[in-house]
Symmetry: C2
Amino acid sequence: MLLTLTEPADVQMRLDYFETRCKELGLRVTRQRQEIFRAVAQSDKHPSAEAVFLQVRESMPNVSLDTVYRTLSSLEEMGLLMRVGLSSKARFDGDLRPHCHFVCTQCGEVYDIFPQENEQIACPLPARNIGEIKQINIQFKGICKNCRPQ
Amino acid sequence: MLLTLTEPADVQMRLDYFETRCKELGLRVTRQRQEIFRAVAQSDKHPSAEAVFLQVRESMPNVSLDTVYRTLSSLEEMGLLMRVGLSSKARFDGDLRPHCHFVCTQCGEVYDIFPQENEQIACPLPARNIGEIKQINIQFKGICKNCRPQ
DNA sequence: TTTTTTGCAAATACTTTGCATAACG
DNA sequence: CGTTATGCAAAGTATTTGCAAAAAA
């Protein structure tokens, strides 16, 4: 049987890696950071900041919500966790043809990417077992040419 | 040359369809709705609610931001435009293995979908011309089995 | 001891809501 | 004319920030 990310052995391994990564980057290994990282690493529920806060508060009643926000952001920058979807404000698209989006993480700009003639947008998978799919959304995150000209 | 969505002829066609759709659904065709829809339909910039508001205000100085929000939501429900990415609050994922997400639009739950053995997650396209891709994000939106049991 | 991080409180950003008036059909 | 949609103002979430005190190295 394969180990899943939520098993204790794996979580411990990732906590160790987290410490290594902190030292590499000159960030301090605080109990708050450890617990916040642990909360996300051992959950498979894609928790919100609020949910992480509630979880961490069980073992650390004095932790504050703003520390959770700050820490989640730095863990993301450190490459230790991901944000699901786009955050911040909503953006709208009047073009309903199937296409992808490139989102620049620096300036926030959203660019359309239309599939080439011979390309197909990747589809379902075991998704049918989860529910009825109404829409597929593919985005690429990165830095656009305006923000980092070659 | 192909027509793009931002060309006047096409925008007019879509405005006509918008009216038809309103009538079908028993919604009134107000000037606000028309202008808000037009603003999104003729833009390729994936505008935020604020951006739509500023645009519409040029021709309609009295329009209010809350009408823009309300209208964008109903246009989305009517299937006339899409929201880019996930809105509302941020969710975090500690699992960095490549996988997709199924997001239930009813309860907000996020489910992981791991690609099968022989499946590959669809990749780039003309995206390289836009910038450097750091991350690929594939989400499916729909109604999960908990919310709509068969 | 020095510098980073935290918790607090307050501010900001984004979005939603109640209600009286205006506008559509 | 009857009902729906709008604008206003205010409330509600989600997230961020300044600063003094606490904690890590």
